[in-house]
Symmetry: C2
Subunit: 340 residues, 2 copies
């Protein structure tokens, strides 16, 4: 039997490969594999289901991630998928695989973060499951949300001339991760070392306690704007933009100078001798919303606090490009540094 | 900080501990943690959500479980949870954590089993996610199902004098596991050894390729019977019966001679010098349905092929007992041998 290495397909290729030609059997299944969440058609309401699996050593490092924060973030990343469909998360189920290393108090910590996120975002925990694990901690969360009929926003609706918008700022979570990794390394060499994070709090917060952009969904709703395409930024702006372009059969142009970057992110990137735009494009774990709106919504969307127009959609043959401050064009590539 | 070992609470105690006093915030959440599936109230239909996490080395051993069978079984165990609510599974999402040991072909095998189960049971795969894993295979599946309003069956509805019914026969999956474990041991000592499973096919099938009892749900529906309480047998008859008794605030009496056992199970138990009733009570992984019906449904339920009346519900102060062939009474204990 041939052996094809998974790496040769890549993450998305693997999913495509595995889920190719799935036959839809129920009328209630409107949209299955291929977006942030599945859309199910139960009368009068569309239901959204998103799921995430987080593995210790791959998605998180308990050396510097407190369990409470991990619980919070585990919930948030799922909520973010539901918001990215223009829906509202309503329930989650939580399965944990736990090795003997963990105590009940540890899990209490995890759950306290989970519950805090659920309280803040108005979500119910409707299923809990725990199981022994031979190695480390496994967290699997499924989130169910709802969206008004006709209002679910997919990745495939972007049109030529649409504006490309992004919420908040980018790259901070990635710089927070770099900072934590550096301090961990120093600490492992000098146990007396006490890290000083002053002036870098925002980076840590973005990495350890991210938020999902419920507020943006609400503001768009109030403004009567339904994006033509939307996705949340978990793997980096570049990778997510290419998803939209590919699924919508378009190209895109974004402008370096318009990419929103926080001062702390820029300052930290300089310290690390990194190009801050590369960080913003490929860092990942931002959990901001990336979406497109018709050109006609320009003024309206520009007037909403926290939303930045960073470029526009083009015809597919024009490709996907970043326009530098000097006018130079660089082709966008999906080279997210984030874990999958 | 105090350290409470998880073992001191036990699996169900831990869940109770973690999910105690969760506040329900949405009208759409009718029932959360504490049954086989969560029930959500979306207009005109109740939606069921069940989830399972399967970890290599804990829930399955790839030494003797082919990946196709693992895929099939991973789906089935989730469907079984939905049937146990008297509902029909409609969609699943699947998350896999995969170590470098696995190839694309391995995952194809896994998915072929998964798809086969979905084809047979009429279920759509609506979400797929894969992620790197440092160790072994992690499978997390969430199943969404639907049930007519007023027809969801919980664990807590059993009443004094209700009949206790079970589908199929018990203990075969556990004996299949013992058989496989024995052959694995022999094989590890003698690589030339070729196991002979003739006459034991049923045991292997029950362990490696279990089915969920959709047929029983349909037969009950046709007969117009709505069970008062229902659960699927994953951890063993004894453990599941105690769930029903506890949640319904009742006791129960079941009769040894009425417990359905296949010939191969009995014969294998004898070879292993095990008490076959102990196997049937505590073996687990049967994925049969255990349910209660009013005494008035006696004749009707007895006439349905594949359903056995094994005892009846009592007042709680009478406890939970197995009545032996000799009339002796043994208190039921939850001592499932199965993994959690």
């Amino acid at each position: 039997m041939n052996r094809t290495e998974i790496a040769s397909l890549g993450e998305f290729g693997l999913i495509r490969h595995l889920t190719d030609r799935l036959e839809i059997k129920n009328d209630s299944t409107l949209f299955g594999v291929g977006d942030d969440a599945a859309v199910l058609n139960y009368p009068h309401r569309q239901i959204l289901v998103a799921t995430d699996l987080l593995l210790e050593g791959v998605h998180f490092d308990l050396t510097y991630v407190p369990l409470k924060h991990l619980g919070y973030k585990s919930a948030i990343v799922n909520f973010s998928d539901i918001y990215a469909m223009n829906g509202l998360p309503k329930q989650i189920t939580v399965s944990l695989g736990i090795s003997k290393r963990f105590s009940v108090e540890d899990l209490d910590e995890f759950y306290s973060g989970l519950k805090l996120a659920c309280d803040i975002y108005g979500v119910d925990i409707v299923g809990g499951d725990t199981s022994a694990s031979l190695t480390g901690l496994t967290v699997s969360i499924t989130c169910i949300g709802e969206v008004d009929k006709e209002k679910a926003v997919y990745r495939n609706g972007a049109k030529d001339t649409d504006l490309i918008c992004v919420s908040g700022d980018l790259g901070a979570a990635y710089m927070g991760l770099q900072l934590l990794e550096r301090e961990k390394k120093v600490f492992s060499e000098d146990k007396q070392f006490a890290p000083d994070f002053s002036g870098k709090e925002y980076l840590l917060e973005r990495q350890l306690k991210p938020e999902a952009r419920k507020d943006i969904i609400e503001l768009l709703e109030q403004a009567g704007i339904v994006p033509t395409a939307m996705i949340d930024i978990s793997d980096g702006l570049s990778s997510e933009l290419l998803h939209i372009s590919k699924e919508s059969n378009t190209g895109c142009r974004i402008y370096e100078e318009r990419i929103p970057i926080d001062f702390q992110t820029a300052s930290m990137a300089e310290q690390f001798n990194m190009n801050v735009y590369t960080v913003a494009l490929n860092g990942g774990e931002d959990y901001e919303l990336l979406f497109t709106v018709p050109l006609s919504a320009h003024e309206q969307v520009e007037s909403i606090e926290g939303i930045h127009v960073i470029g526009h959609i083009t015809r597919p043959e024009l490709g996907n490009y970043l326009i530098g401050r000097d006018g130079g064009e660089v082709q966008l590539k999906a080279q997210g540094w984030g874990h999958s």
